[in-house]
Amino acid sequence: MADTKTYFIGQWDTFHNNGPFPTRILYDMRLEQSANMPSFFDRFNDAAGEVQQLIQDCINHNERFRAYGSGWSLSPIAHQRDRMLFTGRMNLKRIIEPDDLYPFSTFDPNDLIFFQCGNTIKEVSEFAAGRGKSLKTSGASNGQTIGGGISTGIHGSALDEGAVQDSIAGLNLIIGPGPEDIVYIERHSKPALNNGFAKKINARVIRNDGLFYAALVGLGSFGFIHGVLIETENLFLLKRYTRKIKPRQALDLAETLNFADSEFNIPSELDPDGKGTRPYHFKIFINPYNKKEDYVAEIMFKKDYRSDYPNPIPEIKKAIYKDLPTWMARFAEKHSRLIPKFIGALNGQIFPNLDHDVEGTLREIFWDTTHKGPAFAFTFGVDIQDTRKALNLFIRVANEEGPVPGAMALRFVKASQATLAFTRFPMTCIVEMDGILWKGGENIISMEDFEKKLLEAYIAAGIRFTIHWGKNAAWSFPGLVDYMYGNNDDVWKDYRSALLSKQMADLFSNDFLNTVRLSDYRVNTPEHLVDNLLQ
């Protein structure tokens, strides 16, 4: 039997120190040893039974419940005051056999892998790599669990691949304590697994596009994500270049992603006509406090996999994860005017090393990071056509209301079909500032006030935007989710209310969901909304 340790923890914090938040109980669940229970399905179902018991216990005590993985979100989306379940040890994995596939499925079974929720992106990538496969994309690092990662919408900057949730082909949710409360959801327009597989995980099948897309970025509130079916692809290499780029060139490229006609190109990556080829990944690093300075472009091209490439990890370790030193925040709180000078002086430390070309697999290029102190991230998604306007406005607010201790970047990802996807524009430009947490005072604006100023400026300028669910923002800003998602938040609430009972909808809610006004339950939602549309 799976075993759960109970901690009366009192308070809980995110990986990046964005709390602490009051929390009564933290559960830490361990799976049954494989020596005692060798069958994947037995262990998986045993864990499901344990989760259902925990849910029942919450019902008995009239308390709420929330699962979380690595706690990497900087917003309080993973937090629950009552009871939290750490899923990090729930890391079963199973390859999909041809016999598991839906009869007319268009998926190649060799590309599909079923993962339990607590597998981290690194575990997913390593397991896939052992079978000659790779994730299609990942975030900038690999520590998020797959369950947490998809439900908050993690993304990288793979232009034409989408966010991580866009590789998901099926979702296994636990939506209550009863035998009918384990469901397997996939698209009716693109089925993947057959009913026999669902039966093996004791799940009833719902093939329904609308429900699937609503639950995909479910913010931890569509039930407990127990398993996910991921579509992988054959292993590939990424050739990574870092170059200086003129701001005008960078922003022209950002607004069009027309690499063929850009003045900026990598000579070794031109097509036979001498035009730039479309990269897999494009990211621009910006110092918001120096208008005259060139930007830094990180650009990666997809290559066929081969094994004779140099180990990229030593270079990646030096090149990618650059953070402002923590002491700078303490200094900035007293001497905020010096922030631009510090960022200028530390440019070589904060931004990637220039002209260091590296080649590696996705899992090697977007490798480990470690905790480096309290951190913040403001992350907006805008249509690429609004990039220049959104960036200039952000920089103006940072200079007029700040300065604040952070550096900026732009990334680019195609639209996701998930109902509440952060990457919702046909091509989303991610305008972000990362830095170290600071406290407001006489000499520096508070983070909360700065977040509000940003929102006010964007709304006043009529810029359509979204905000990454796992990042810092003035989430209580009136009408924020309506502004960002139009009717989609209503669609999301309808599907959630149709799938979950009122009691379960409340059990899977938290303060964050209340704050963004997504916890409302719609009593009269038609049940047929969550019908199985393909037997």
């Binding site: 914090d13 994947f40 690595s70 706690g71 750490f86 990090g88 079963l92 397991f127 905790h371």
Partner: protein, 124 residues
């Protein structure tokens, strides 16, 4: 007034005492650590480890002991078990005090300070 002057007078005993304390402080604090980490694999998690830095969220085990070797013994073998069979990270710490202790005792007394994290259990 007189007493005050006496109290401020140079006191060699006190000076030597502070010198010894300062030297001991330097010896015990003069140290460095080296961390060896596995490129592959994921560390065993610990959801209630909220310490700052590299070990946050990881299940850290520590060995902090002094080993007395017998006359004919010349090496130390510390046996530890990781459920998955591998270490993810090992960090050893060397202090000036430990080096001096080993030197003075001709290597027969060895101070050991090691931190390690196991690889996360997996069903692969």
């Amino acid at each position: 007034m007189k007493n005050h002057c006496i109290a401020n007078k140079y006191n060699p005993g006190l000076f030597i005492y502070f010198l010894i304390v300062f030297t001991i402080f330097l010896i015990t604090q003069g140290c460095y650590s080296v961390r060896i980490s596995n490129v592959n694999g994921v560390p065993e998690p610990d959801p209630v480890n909220f310490e700052e830095g590299f070990y946050r969220g990881k299940a850290v085990k520590e060995i902090d002991t002094t080993v007395n070797l017998k006359l004919l013994e010349n090496e130390v073998l510390v046996l530890e078990t990781c459920p998955e069979g591998c270490f993810q990270t090992v960090e050893y710490r060397v202090t000036l005090g430990a080096v001096l202790l080993s030197g003075i005792t001709l290597g027969k007394v060895r101070r050991i300070k090691v931190k390690y994290v196991c690889l996360k259990e997996s069903d692969e």
